[in-house]
Subunit: 329 residues, 2 copies
């Protein structure tokens, strides 16, 4: 296990399973025929700030007008578009893969972290931390071609259900943020999602959950290697090595490498997105910086004080939104 | 100089200055009012193949229809969209930067490769090969912020002229390929350019020469580091280290990392694009693979035989095209 791999899963936490995250509050969104593009957002400062920003940058001839090609928005995934997912979802996927592959690996019955995974012993897994999770991911993903891995993720997402809510994982994203993504897209924005999960998982997830195409998803990536199969066909095989995308440090560098320019709107979550927001803010012209804040999560108020001092818009999940999750289908 | 850096400039050759490349043949393109989207392409197999492919994948209800989101095309830069540029152009830029920065570096008067650059001693530079070129690039680029580097490239491209033709470098790209890019774009394709030059140079170049946005340009990238300036503003600073994009090996892996899926059309040049074309060809559904071939360049015919055997379309610059460069302005 090299240090890159270890770093890459630094924040792939076990919070779906163990942490005191938000409970799933499955309040159905009001279905209205309103022309309001953000019906799940309460009238208030956060909603006014984001709709006002979009109005300003799309007003042709206005002093804050931004041409469509430069309307780039980046969203953190974990804690911003959904509560800690899909990294947690990727853990659920990895656990299911361990179970599926176990018959071919009798040694897993006695070897950690596989034994804990097979016994559904989440406490032991949590105690092993990132290293244990990294081993699960690598053992179940590496060696597959990129096509095989994509299909396996796709098949899993189509059938797997989150245990408590019994809902597909792709439905467990914040309804108000789904509305915001649609609103931005309708206003010519190109949206990028940044995740600490592996892109191989996230790309399938983001296309289904958000309609965001694979090339607009940024995440930890397996190192791949070009091979010719027995039939001569070219393919890329996932190696047991992951290239890191940092949570916090690393996000601006990665986004610059990909985009070659700054976004004009960036949305972060409760952890680790400060650098991405600072870097976005440092560009010339109009900028929108948003921070999703879990109400009453016992987090220090300094983060909020700093956000206010910088002019970042704090979206308090309880005070700014009417609902959290989309209505069940 | 680490090995990544050395590899990154493996193909940053000195061919503008020394190799027996194509002479600039500045035949003005015929200006016609034709509805033909590719007026600089001679009627023949290559033109029929590419227009036929575009017709098939855009015909709604047809069996080869490809939804717009999946119409991704990748073009090699060097030798495909232009004759070995803009890597050569990047050398010209680096030489101009060495001259501009020389007053601050008296030691360069006696130290190679800087002495050779200042003396315009191209033979000595060529003899130093990639290592010498890498040193010029790193000494003139590293330490700048990404914003400063972008502005310096932009200013240079606005005023610099290619010595023989006295034309702006951004005009020295193949006219028939400009038409092909426009034709594909009009048919809903999203076009990516892959270069062995650094993206910091190529992104400015590609936006001016082709109208391709920065996020659709792939190339060698400076490693950057997040910093806060004295005024507290966030910025990214280029480090003296370049991340390699291979010529040949490395292109499919890099494109997969960026796109998460295969293009449906790929165009390569005389060197090093075989893997990118093979990997593109291995996807399901309709595919177009094209190879730009410099007429009479004394290259082995095996490459052409193989292309024919694989069904790749060979674009012979003399036999397939009416003109090479766009008319002067």
């Amino acid at each position: 296990m090299n240090s890159n791999t270890t770093r890459s899963v630094r924040l792939l936490a076990l919070n779906l399973l163990l942490a005191a995250g938000l409970a799933l509050s499955l309040v159905p969104a009001a279905v209205t025929e309103s022309a309001d593009p953000l019906p799940s957002w309460k009238e208030g400062a956060a909603k006014r700030a984001v709709t006002g920003f979009v109005a300003r940058v799309t007003r042709e001839g206005g002093e804050d007008f931004v041409p469509p090609a430069e309307r780039i928005a980046t969203f953190d995934q974990e804690g911003t578009l959904g509560s800690g997912q899909p990294v947690d979802f990727q853990l659920a996927f990895a656990l299911d893969r361990v179970r599926a592959l176990a018959p071919r690996h009798p040694e897993w019955r006695t070897r950690q972290p596989f034994k804990a995974a097979l016994d559904n012993d989440l406490e032991t897994l949590a105690a092993m931390g990132e290293e244990g999770f990294a081993q699960l991911i690598l053992a179940t993903h590496a060696g597959m071609t990129t096509d095989e891995l994509g299909k396996t993720v796709s098949d899993w997402l189509a059938t797997a259900r989150e245990p408590r809510s019994r809902r597909p994982y792709t439905e467990l994203v914040y309804q108000p943020m789904l509305e915001l993504l649609a609103f931005l897209r309708a206003n010519g924005f190109k949206i990028y999602v940044v995740s600490e999960g592996t892109v191989e998982f996230m790309r399938v997830f983001a296309e289904r959950a958000y309609g965001i195409p694979p090339e607009q998803v940024v995440g930890a990536a397996f190192v791949t290697r070009f091979q010719r199969a027995a039939d001569g066909k070219a393919r890329l095989v996932c190696q047991p090595e992951i290239e890191f995308v940092g949570d916090g440090p690393g996000k601006p560098e990665t986004l610059h490498k990909l985009l070659g320019r700054r976004p004009i709107l960036a949305f972060g979550g409760p952890d680790g997105d400060r650098q991405m927001l600072e870097w976005t803010a440092a560009g010339g012209g109009p900028r929108f910086l948003g921070l999703v804040h879990p109400t009453g999560a016992g987090r220090p108020d300094e983060a909020l004080d700093e956000a206010a001092a910088r002019g970042w818009v704090v979206v308090d999940m309880k005070r700014s939104w009417n609902v959290i999750y989309p209505p069940g289908r």
